[in-house]
Amino acid sequence: MNRIATAASEEPSYLGGEHSIKSWLLTKDHKRIAVLYLISVTLFFIVGGIAALLVRLELLTPAGDLLTADGYNRAFTVHGIVMIFFFLIPGIPAVLGNFLIPLMIGARDLAFPRINLLSWYLYIVGGLIAVVTILLGGVDTGWTFYTPYSSVYANGAVVLTGLAAFVAGFSSILTGLNFIVTIHKMRAPGMTWFRLPLFVWAHYATSLIQMLATPVVALAILLVVIERAFGFGIFDPAVGGDPVLFQHLFWFYSHPAVYIMLLPGMGVMSELMAAFSRRRVFGYHIIAFSSLAIAALGFLVWGHHMFVSSQSPYAGLVFSILTMMVAAPSAIKVFNWTATLHKAEVRFDAPMLYALGFLGLFLIGGLTGVMLGTLGLDVHVHDTYFVVAHFHYVMVGAVVMAFLGGLHFWWPKMFGRMYPQLPARISAVLIFIGFNATFFPQFVVGYLGMPRRYWEYVPEFQIYHVMSTMGSFVLGVGYLLPLIYLLWSLRYGEKASENPWDAVGVEWLTPSPPTSHNFHETPTVVWEAYEHEMFPGSEVASGRPAAVPSHSRLAEAD
């Protein structure tokens, strides 16, 4: 521990140095921007979470008593828009990706630090517009903005909400652009494509989707905004427009967007599996390519959201078959992670518990996704709670588990402090239990016929809704706990060493927290991904405890 303190005293960490608010708000350091993002996505998570609790409380009883019908529509719309555009999409890439990609590939920063800061400001502007919209009473369109409801009939500030999503999309495009260029052009000597951590591969695939899909939804939402503001008739059937065209443009982005949320989570999973089973990830190349396959195939299946629109049944058939295909690369990842664990000495530290939670929840979410991709079954359960449960298992269960797992894994690196293990483990278990308690009953009640977005329901469904609401409180406590002990650790936590988990990766050669410029000298990578034997920061390699100042170790690597 002392030696770390010495290393830190030579050059201040990125957290030290200037402390003024201005130095944070004008920072071009990818690590500080990641922290800004962490704070802001957490705030939006709380906003979206409050809306979710309102929805769950309303559904506790069959009668619509807590909220008005209109208020209920607005609550689930706020929940959806905030959680998707302001938490899940930027979540892992803009926080963990931003912080880690330059560190993992041995770069001093992202290729475009000023654009990185600009992307945070755009995110904040979009977020503020969203908050203003909420204060003005919100909208009731659902996060999907379906026309002609959104463009003609809906109440509330559709124009403002659309602008919020549009600006947030711009921010997302700039983040993706930055990652693509950084990963192509900024890798350290020796860091070949097949030595990249799988986290970086996953983010590369994510960035491609962000670049190629986001402009289309930006356009679709812009057209809705124009149509509503000026009365242009592009999607309005009353003047010959086709509302299904909006759905095509919307889902061309919004299905791949599921992978914008999920792929970075899968990247986190690969890192956690390797670190806590202390071995190389089984089938490295296959996992790397499966990320690209998911990104590419994810673009071919959007029509499975539109089986019961007036879309052609022949197109539906094709979309259904293609949907089966996109399940394959996801399954490959799950098999490879499981194989990594096989006969390994697995350590069950808190991050690993989150990772195992991801495996369980993603399995259920993924398999029910295949069920829903089947055209015949989807017609039966379309727009029911079965769908709600499915996408929450993937987008909340799996992705938030991965986000928290990654945050617990790299927290010591980001802030130089360890958090207490016991509450972290308890919270991982609580979230797993609470999540299943909340959403598993929704599969059942959905299959029985409970439609989504309904404010009242028949009394025989109440038991499932009560279970779900109870579960959501357990889940809420599970999400609140990390907020408490992680903040506590910032001041009282034990100081973290450079490589507290004995993991492999360039980021573990830097001090915890890293210095502003990341590296004293550019590291040279001589080890394969996750290979302990050649990794200079590993206990196996050096035979020494993992607390040697980084520059000396980097010199050895040369």
């Binding site: 330059p102 770069a107 001093r108 920063d109 992202l110 290729a111 475009f112 630090p113 654009i115 495009i173 652009l177 930055n178 693509i180 260029v181 950084t182 192509h184 052009k185 900024m186 670049m211 190629l212 899909a213 986001t214 402009p215 289309v216 930006a218 356009l219 679709a220 057209l223 124009i226 149509e227 000026f230 009365g231 242009f232 008739g233 592009i234 009353a238 003047v239 010959g240 427009g241 086709d242 065209l245 443009l249 061309f252 410029h517 550019t522």
Partner: protein, 219 residues
């Protein structure tokens, strides 16, 4: 390749890059990736327009006849010329002649302004002919399907409006670059001009497709 960078160009090196070559390649790739994204943005809109046009073509044909072929053609010529002057700016910047580079950049931006001017004139004509499809304004159409005509003009204004917005952003950016080139802030580093050029040519490229689909399908 000759890598004898002068001290001047090394002063232009941003801290995150190892050398000027890496910096240049990153900038260039970054702009191209952004333009790939723009292809999808305009592409989706143009596709939507063509989709409706294939269905409502008789009315859209009448709409096309309301647009002035000559005005559109002049604007196309203006933009093509501005692309040429932009290329001259890049060329002179490459040759280290920063004064001429700044001159050609300004010429390019003036041609951009001329394009906007013609566009405003054209919008004015639509106003006079009551062809603005905004709610509350009178929309006069003597053909059979005024609703479809509204849709045609909705697309006309959206397509040309978003394009004009890109032109305006380009003009502002050119002024910033031109100012810095004139002050010789970039020294031997011509890449800022090159990157500016990529964006400007893309805006020209969009118009190369907008002109035929809006003005030329008259048969």
């Amino acid at each position: 390749m000759n890598h004898s960078h002068t001290a001047e160009s090394d002063a232009r090196l941003f801290h995150q890059f190892a050398d000027m070559e890496q910096q240049h390649e990153s900038w260039s790739l970054g702009m191209w990736v952004f333009l790939a994204s723009e292809v999808l943005f305009f592409g989706a809109l143009i596709f939507s327009f063509l989709l409706y046009r294939s269905v409502y073509w008789p009315t859209f044909l009448e709409g096309t006849h309301e647009l002035d072929l000559v005005i559109g053609g002049i604007n196309t010529a203006i933009l093509l010329t501005s692309s040429f002057t932009m290329v001259l700016a890049v060329y002179t910047a490459q040759n280290g002649n920063h004064r001429m580079a700044a001159f050609w950049l300004i010429v390019t931006s003036l041609l951009g302004l001329a394009f906007i001017g013609v566009k405003i004139h054209e919008y004015g004509l639509k106003w006079e002919h009551h062809l603005i499809p905004i709610q509350g304004l009178e929309f006069e159409w003597h053909g059979e399907h005024p609703q479809q005509a509204r849709m045609f003009f909705s697309f006309y204004f959206t397509l040309t409006g978003l394009h004009a917005l890109h032109v305006l952003v380009g003009i502002l950016a050119i002024w910033v670059v031109a100012y810095r080139v004139a002050k010789n802030h970039f020294g031997n580093d011509y890449m800022p001009v090159e990157i500016m050029g990529l964006y400007w040519h893309f805006v020209d490229l969009v118009w190369i497709f907008l002109y035929p689909i809006l003005y030329l399908f008259r048969a």
